[in-house]
Amino acid sequence: MISLSGIHKRFSDGEEDHVVLDALDLQVREGEFVAVVGASGSGKSTLLYVVGGLDGDFSGEAKVAGQDLRALDPQGRAAFRNTAVGFVFQSFNLLPALPAVENVMLPGLFVPRGRRAAPLHELRKNALAALSQVGLAEKAARLPAHLSGGERQRVAIARALLSRPALLLADEPTGNLDAKSGESVIALFVELVSRGMTVLVVTHEERLSTRAGRVLHLEGGRLR
């Protein structure tokens, strides 16, 4: 599912260059639940953004869900993000002005050319089904501000699942949640993996990493 080889990623803060990923290699098979742990600032999120096609400014070889990310132009990467991967962020990243169901519908509004775009009523139906899958069907009309942290994260997961991607990428998904809510999110990931989805999580939380099938440590820009 994921094949990274010799990934280099650096950025400059204006005074000096910082190496974030240094000849990094990563192989993840389909249906695997992999956790990447590391200290704050170790490059975990950067790795996730490279894998998810959010960051195209790197060198090395990256094949994810059958796509050579280096060969994709910005439009191709956008299409890849829309169809091949689902993102879950630490701070949920829901649009505050939209009700839960509208937030879940969002990926369906950006269907790339050449693919069938569902009409809005069908999209809403699919979004409600996704919300139902994470146990939030009855709160579909609520704004994010009127949901608990755990509920917001489950809405974010429902949104990530809308396009039925093969790969779920989660960036500190339990970082802002209390123990109970975090546990429900972890249980959801486990359930998704049991259904054949590949999940790559970056975290520094042990409660999450211990539930993963494989744990990798990111240190000095490389995985161990």
Binding site: P74, A78, R81, F87, A97, L106, F110, P112, A117, L120
Partner: protein, 428 residues
């Protein structure tokens, strides 16, 4: 991104920022309202001016030159040979002679069958001009004839189409005469007149006799304060009273196309004759004044629309900067830079469209109000229109299009700014 999805998301975004959307729509609305209002006013007043100074754009009035070297240069007298030369000018479809009657004609009694509160002893001197019948044939009422009548029969006349309006609004109030009802059919009215009689005693001829004039039609080709009779009638009366006919008072040239008139006027002047601009020139001057004023106001309105575009640009730029993270989230979910650009433009387009629709409605409402105020406070004058505004369908479309266009232009820079958001940097 599909259009329906784009409109859906743009509407959701606008709903989430109602205040900003309302302010921007308000700016667009004011620009559109001002533009539509002033253009409608210009069109309406222009139409009223054309009714007031109705003239045929293909006609040119040729008169003898005020100062002339006479026939030496081919100009001066408007005799039959001059008429033939005028008729042979390129672009001339017809040349029609006019000859003012030099025998005085006056009326001391009202038309038969019409009670107009005629004051005792009141006498009206009637200016009469003889005209080639072909010029007015199209305006002669069905069943009537415009030709010199046999002795004893009423003389057919045509009056200006504007005469009833001018009579009702100016002459009747000034002389305390009864006004004629709207739609009153003047054709067929007979006016008892005294031929040879003048209100200036020294100008009264030795021979004075009673006759009748009968109105056979109304025409815009007849001067406002004259009555037109057949040219042959004027010749007959001149012969009867021993008046010489050295030349015609004027010749009306009919051009093949309105565009030919300026070159024809130039050719006529070169021949040594004058061109009487008369009502047409006045109408053109009024029309020009209206067009210039309306144009200046429309320009001002366009400037307001431009300012609205700037306000929208500034407001949207601030909005985009404040939504950087939201834009990055959309990109993380699959939006391309083009989608983001389209989204900002769609938001601006919806704001401009709703502002434009509101503005057009506001302009229409203001015009109704202005008309009511105008009708209430302006004095009654000839050809005063029921409305000072004209709203052709294209004007509504123009208002909405300009408003939407201004909003879209204002959104170009913010849209470009939004499209440059780097999702990897801004999403977390």
């Amino acid at each position: 991104m599909r259009t329906r999805a784009l409109v859906h998301l743009a509407s959701l975004n606008l709903r989430s920022d109602r205040r900003g959307a309302l302010v921007n729509a308000g700016a667009a609305c004011v620009g559109a309202a001002a533009l539509v209002f002033f253009v409608a006013l210009g069109l309406g007043v222009g139409q009223a001016a054309r009714r007031m100074f109705a003239s045929d754009a293909r006609l040119l009035e040729v008169v003898p030159a005020a100062v002339s070297l006479g026939g030496a240069l081919g100009g001066g007298l408007l005799d039959d040979s001059a008429v033939e030369r005028l008729r042979s000018l390129p672009g001339v479809a017809g040349a029609y002679r006019r000859l003012s009657l030099r025998v005085p004609v006056a009326s001391s009694r009202p038309p038969e069958g019409v009670k107009v509160n005629w004051p005792p002893g009141f006498t009206v001197q009637l200016p009469v001009v003889g005209v080639d019948p072909d010029l007015l044939q199209g305006d002669v009422a069905r069943g009537r004839r415009f030709e010199d009548p046999p002795p004893g029969r009423p003389i057919p006349v045509l009056a200006s189409r504007r005469l009833l309006e001018v009579y009702n609004k100016t002459i009747a109030p000034a002389w305390n005469l009864r006004r004629l009802p709207p739609g009153f059919d003047l054709v067929g009215l007979e006016f008892p007149v005294r031929v040879g009689f003048s209100i200036i005693p020294l100008k009264t001829e030795d021979k004075v006799y009673d006759a009748n004039l009968v109105l056979v039609g109304l025409s815009d080709r007849v001067p406002l304060y004259s009555l037109a009779v057949p040219l042959a009638t004027v010749r007959r009366l001149h012969a009867e009273y021993g008046k010489a006919d050295p030349g015609y008072t004027g010749v009306t040239l009919e051009a093949r196309r309105p565009d030919d008139v300026p070159s024809l006027a130039e050719a006529v002047r070169r021949m040594g004759f004058g061109v009487d601009e008369g009502d047409r020139a006045l109408g053109e001057r009024v029309g020009l004044a209206v067009a210039v004023t309306a144009g200046a106001l429309a320009l001002l309105a366009l400037l307001m629309t431009g300012l609205a575009a700037l306000a929208i640009a500034q407001s949207l730029s601030a909005s985009v900067r404040g939504r950087t993270r939201e834009i990055a989230i959309l990109e993380a979910l699959g939006a391309t830079a083009a989608d983001v650009r389209s989204l900002v433009l769609a938001e601006a387009g919806l704001v401009g469209l709703s502002g434009g629709l509101l503005g057009v409605g506001m302009a229409f409402g203001l015009s109704l109000l202005a008309d009511r105020v105008g009708l209430r406070y302006l004095p009654d004058f000839p050809f005063r229109p029921e409305t000072f505004f004209a709203f052709p369908p294209w004007l509504f479309a123009l208002g909405v299009a300009v408003s939407t266009g201004a909003a879209l232009v204002g959104a170009l820079a913010p849209a470009a700014l939004a499209a440059r958001v780097d999702p990897a940097r801004s999403v977390s």
